[in-house]
């Protein structure tokens, strides 16, 4: 394989399609960390939420024999986990970060525990006849050249996630709730002093966070895959947390960074077939984010020095 082959595979509409496919769970992870984070309730249990949701999607759709009910169960799982953060940190005063770490360790083992309970198997759900959600061909659009190839034919959840993305954007930037969420995150005392019910606002943010994180988990086992494999999230949740940490409160930076990461990830998946040291190739997306944040921080520091910020 040579460089020409490589570019041939990258510079295609189907590659854009691939990027979207790779990006969906990462977008979910980023949004999940972001929505919780801007309300001042850091959710670092994204990985655990996605993992449990991925499992519950499979188990749920198996029990109910309905993909949609499975999705619902997955989402409820995600929400319940996110609410655990609310319960413990808001009602019981535990550090939300600690709750997050605890939930992650919990999810890692508990997903295996549940898997074992229902399949007598600790590795995968291969023996369960679970359901998946269909892919969607959008009429008319699918026949438009290029655009149709890119935006039609994705899994149902992909469209749900795009929808969620738009809704979250509008919510944060255009609605009273969004303003209050930001206020709660920036200074809870100040928010409280004008009658913002900070706890309620944060609970809502966490519910959204759990929901979107769960969508990411369900995406993986309810369309993209049809089987749960132990530890199937493989760090995607953490990437979301890192991206959200980098984006701060900015929604555009969040999405741009996630997409950049996804592009690097997709390229990495191609590079991996080129007989190069795979363990190093695997670090490409991480190196990219690292370089990104270094450049970002340096420019911010320069700006601050020059007084263009603050």
């Amino acid at each position: 394989m040579n460089l020409a082959d490589f570019f041939a595979s990258v510079l295609t509409t189907s590659f854009v399609f691939v990027i979207i496919r790779v990006a969906v769970p990462l977008v979910c992870a980023s949004l999940s960390a972001y929505t919780a984070g801007i309300s001042g309730m850091n959710n670092i249990a994204v990985e655990g939420i996605m993992l449990m949701a991925a499992l519950m999607a499979v188990l749920g759709s198996y029990w109910t024999q309905s993909a949609w009910l499975g999705l619902l169960i997955a989402i409820l799982t995600g929400i319940v986990m996110a609410l655990m953060i609310a319960l413990f940190s808001m009602r019981l005063g535990a550090n939300p970060i600690l709750v997050g770490i605890a939930l992650n360790t919990f999810a890692t083992s508990f997903s295996i525990f549940l898997l074992y309970l229902f399949t007598k198997n600790k590795g995968s759900s291969a023996s369960l006849a679970s359901k998946i959600l269909p892919t969607v061909d959008i009429p008319i659009i699918k026949d438009i050249p290029f655009i149709g190839d890119i935006i039609s034919g994705h899994y149902v959840i992909t469209y749900l996630v795009v929808l969620a993305m738009i809704v979250i954007y509008l919510l944060i930037y255009k609605t009273p709730l969004g303003l209050r969420i930001k206020a709660a995150g920036l200074d809870q005392e100040a928010a409280r002093s004008v009658g913002v019910n900070v706890n309620r606002v944060r609970i809502i943010s966490l519910i959204i966070s759990g929901l979107i994180g769960a969508l990411g988990g369900a995406y993986i086992t309810m369309g993209y895959m049809s089987v749960f494999v132990k530890n199937i999230i493989s760090g995607r949740g953490w990437i979301g947390i890192a991206v959200a940490g980098m984006a701060g409160s900015s929604f555009p930076i969040l999405i741009i960074t996630t997409m950049l990461f996804s592009i690097f990830q997709a390229v990495t998946n191609i590079f991996l077939l080129y007989n190069l040291p795979s363990e190093l190739i695997n670090t490409i997306p991480y190196v990219a984010v690292l370089v990104g944040i270094i450049i970002f921080s340096i420019t911010e520091t320069r700006k601050r020095k020059k007084g263009e910020l603050d």
Partner: protein
């Protein structure tokens, strides 16, 4: 019940412990467990499964517990975990051990080990895959390309694909190799497989544990073929996820279950051996699983050729390249396979 057995000492019950990191790896820990279920059927065998987890710092301690647990035989193994078996075996020389998958070069009197000729297995898989890609089977394409997804770029894993590459080169078929460096990230496995299919591959063999599911997903989505590993993966999925099962035209088995049964048989017969035995196609240690779906999907011409190859390998007529035996030669074999056309 137990009391009755005590009174009739001639009805000895053999207690066998299986120490595995976990089961459900879609791979040979499951197969070993299948072996356990096989011998569990025996009237006079009682088995205990111990899932010790994948944190090897705990294995010595667990092995010691098991060694002190009064078992007649302890079954364990695999390149990552066998060191702990040998540590315990050295400490408890009267305890019998069975290493179901041996790679270690040293040896102890109370340990009987088997190793599987996975290179032969790879050769068979490579033959089948090469024949499929050059065939006019329904989902095959004109390109002569096959793929393999290997969990990690390490010798124990590469041993599977040395023969695979060798035979593909001989048959003029190009090989695409992908190492996801993971046994869990099925999504990545899927993306890599889809990329392979995109490049013109039409059949992929997976040797990657949980990641293998991603390979089947990709094959189902792209309308191509996949080959399973370690056990009958068609059977594994046909009930629950028929769409996935239908891409698995054949599976290359590493018959650890049979090996386990053999070992227990020796034990019961009172002639438990010592030393290392290599189980190849001849010994039924590895082989192609022939099921109805294989018969239905793969044209008879191809099947005949595969059978021929099986025979040749078994008889030693074909010398299969082994990465473990010839680590320095591997690079060249790989290069050739990647470039072949």
């Amino acid at each position: 019940e137990g009391g009755e057995e005590q009174e009739q000492p001639e009805e000895k019950v053999f207690k066998v412990a299986f120490v595995l990191p976990f089961i459900g790896d879609q791979s040979y820990f499951d197969t070993v467990n299948a072996g356990r279920l096989l011998v569990e059927e025996y009237e006079n065998v009682e088995t205990t499964l111990i899932e010790a987890g994948d944190d090897t710092s705990k294995w010595d301690s667990i092995m010691t517990d098991v060694a002190e647990g009064g078992y007649d035989l302890i079954v364990s193994g695999n390149n990552t975990y066998e060191a702990h078996l040998y540590t315990a075996a050295a400490a408890y020389p009267d305890q019998k051990f069975f290493n179901f998958d041996y790679t270690k070069s040293e040896d102890l009197a109370n340990v009987y080990s088997v190793t599987y000729d996975t290179a032969e297995l790879g050769y068979v898989a490579g033959t089948l895959a090469s024949l499929i890609t050059t065939s006019d089977m329904e989902k095959a394409n004109p390109e002569k390309m096959i793929g393999v997804i290997v969990g990690m770029d390490i010798p124990a894993m590469n041993e599977f694909i040395g023969g695979f590459c060798q035979v593909a080169t001989e048959l003029g078929v190009q090989v695409v190799i992908g190492y996801p460096e993971s046994f869990a990230d099925a999504a990545k496995g899927k993306e890599m497989s889809l990329n392979m299919f995109e490049q013109g591959v039409d059949v992929i063999w997976q040797v990657a544990g949980g990641v293998g599911v991603g390979v089947f997903e990709a094959a189902a989505e792209a309308g191509r073929y996949a080959l399973g590993v370690d056990q009958d993966q068609y059977a594994q999925f046909i009930e629950s996820q028929p769409a996935l099962a239908e891409v698995i035209v054949a599976s290359m088995a590493k018959n650890c279950d049979l090996a386990v049964k053999r070992a227990v048989d020796f034990l019961i017969a009172g002639e438990y051996p010592s030393g290392v035995e290599t189980l190849g196609i001849t010994e039924n240690g590895v082989g192609l699983i022939v099921n109805d779906y294989y018969l239905e999907q793969v044209p008879e011409a191809i099947r005949t050729q595969v059978d021929e190859v099986l025979g040749k390998v078994s008889s030693g007529e074909v010398e299969v390249f082994s990465v473990l035996a010839d680590p320095d030669g591997w690079a060249a074999v790989k290069e050739a396979a990647l470039a072949a056309k």
